[in-house]
Structures are given as C-alpha cells and as structure tokens.
C-alpha cells in the first residue's frame, strides 16, 4: 500500500452564518466576497468580519462562505477563554446544547442561542483516496505529524469525512498546529488506520 500522506491545514477562528443572519448583520441581500478559496470545493473565506461577543470579551473573526443552514462559531480553546465561553469540542453541525454568543455586524446584531464550538479535528477524504486507503465515512484514524521538527506527535480520534465533495486534508486548530510545531507552509502528515 502506498504511504498515506496528507496535507494538514490549521483553521483559525471563523464563523458560518445563515442567509438570514447575513441579511441582519450586513444588510438585506448582501453577498459575501470570495477572498480566498479553501481546500474543500466551493468553500471560501470572505473578507467580511463580525464581532463575536461573549460574557467576558469580544473578538473579530472572518465569515466563511457560502451561507449554511445554521450559524456556527468555531474557536480554539485558547480563543474561547478570554471570551468567557465554555465551548465544547464538537463536530461541525453538532450544535445541540452548545453555548451561544452575540454576533455584531455593521448593520445589526444577532443573538445566537447556540452554535459556539471548538472543532473536533477531522480528515476530509476524497472518494478516490478513501477507496485507495480503505477508509470509509465516519472511520476514526490517527495522524502522525511533526516528525521533521521538535514536536512530533500522533493525533488520535481523527474522524474521517469521505465523499465526492471532499478534498483530502486534515483540519486542526491553531492549538493543535502549535502543539505539533507545524510552522512551515503546507505541512504534511501520515494517516494511520486503527
């Protein structure tokens, strides 16, 4: 079997918003600009920023597009602490019972009742790589990385999302990126099946 090498991408704090939330924050019919395409097909970073307000503090973050069915704020544990938000580590979209926050845009505010999470690390896998590597949607794998630096480690409990809309890449946050000292451009890791 070929070595299962994979790109590792660090996600900074960001939020996803519904069409309705975007209308309130930026004005009716406002469209997000595509500042930068992301690795997952169709996903992009916009240049639009919102202020996320928690009980203890606030911070600005970018909105990723396109709009989604639910508002969702993704932070690192480091980000969450000064905001005073006790966010759980969850898969994207698994928002039941998570804390909320206030979003403030240039045209209005939205009080999110829930939707603030620390993203659970995961690996997007294309159908092609999933077949080649024998990995199915929902499988749990490990990712070995950082071997050329001072902080090599093996991330366990990495959930695989396999499907035709996925481009193969591991997504972790900056706490995790720093813990492995993945400081260079386009760091790579190795998938280890369990």
């Amino acid at each position: 079997m070929s070595e299962m090498k994979v790109l590792i991408e660090g996600s900074g704090r960001h939020c996803h918003v519904t069409r309705e939330t975007l209308d309130i924050l930026f004005g009716k019919g406002f469209e997000l600009d595509q500042k930068k395409a992301l690795s997952q097909p169709g996903q992009f970073a916009s240049s639009c920023k919102v202020t996320v307000v928690g009980p203890k503090g606030e911070t600005k973050m970018s909105i990723l597009g396109p709009c989604r069915p639910h508002d969702q704020v993704e932070l690192s544990l480091t980000d969450a602490r000064p905001l005073g938000i006790d966010a759980p580590i969850r898969q994207s979209g698994d928002l039941k019972g998570t804390p909320g926050c206030k979003l403030v845009g240039p045209c209005g505010e939205v009080e999110m009742k829930e939707g603030v999470i620390i993203a659970l690390r995961h690996i997007h896998v294309s159908d092609e790589d999933g077949e080649k590597w024998g990995i199915k949607d929902g499988d749990i794998v490990m990712i070995k990385c950082g071997d050329d630096g001072p902080r090599p480690l093996v991330f366990d409990n990495v959930v695989a999302r396999v499907g035709p809309t996925h481009a193969t890449a591991v997504h972790i946050d900056y706490d995790e990126l720093n813990a492995a000292a993945l400081l260079g451009k386009d760091p790579m890791g190795e998938v280890i099946k369990k």
Copy 2:
C-alpha cells in the same frame, strides 16, 4: 511492569531571572515571595509580575523562583506571535542564539540579549521512578494522554530529566494542553518507552 502513569502539568508563560536582574527590576535585595510551591522541589511561583516587551506587543507574566544563572522567558507559540518574537522551541537553559526582549519592572528595565524560548516538552523523573521504569536522564519517551476526552494523542520527543531533585511530572505548555483537551484537574498520562 507497573503501568507508567504520570501527572501532566501545563505551564503558562513565565520568566526566570538572575539575582542581578531582580535587583534592577524590583530594587536592590528584593526577595520573591513564594505564592505557590511548584511540583519540582524548591521551585515556586511568586506574585511578582514583569512586563515582557517584544517588537510588536507586550504582556505581563509571573516570575518563578528561586533566581537562576540566566534570565529566561518561556512562552507558548500562541503567546509569542502577538509579541512579534520568533522564539525557537528549546530545552530550558539552551539559550544560545535565541531572541531577546525587554523586561520592565516597577524599579527598572533589563534588555535581555537572548533567552526567549518556547519550552520543549519534557518529563521530570525522580530517581526512584527512573530506576523502576528503566528511564535514564536524557532518554526520549512518548506520553499518551487525553484518552478520556475528545482529543487523545501521543506526544513524541519528550525528553526525560532524571535525578534526585526531580518529582515525576510531564511539563507541556497550554497549546499542548489544549491540543489534548486536558481540561480537568491533575490530568494523567502514560509513559511509553521508545
């Protein structure tokens, strides 16, 4: 062999100072108070804080005692970025060629020529545990942790410091603590020999 269970401690940003630096920052003959004893015998956190100034920003941090032969600032990668300090990941005391910074206290300032590091993760091992586990000073081990949470992982390249003045504990920074979601009190890990 008994399972090699070990306490994991997260170190926040802090600094160590020389007797001379303490005189300049806080006044001749000033003594650090012992706010909290640390796990390593004789080491303590004081309530004294200094402002660490980098090219892009500044932050306050506690001084740990007792005084040492060299000034040393220990940060996480997350801490270092807003200060504009490109600190390398190093073992404590291995300061050659590291960047400096300015320390500001109530009575004066000290320009450190070098000494700002991101601490390399390490494990302190008592002589007794070292003998029991077959681990010698300088050995490299792995630490498996976070198994009861959403972010289990295995830290590799954990340097062992074995000796009579050491109490057995793993030291990591907050980026690493967050990456493993070690959020409870007194998290434990398992030593894996290589």
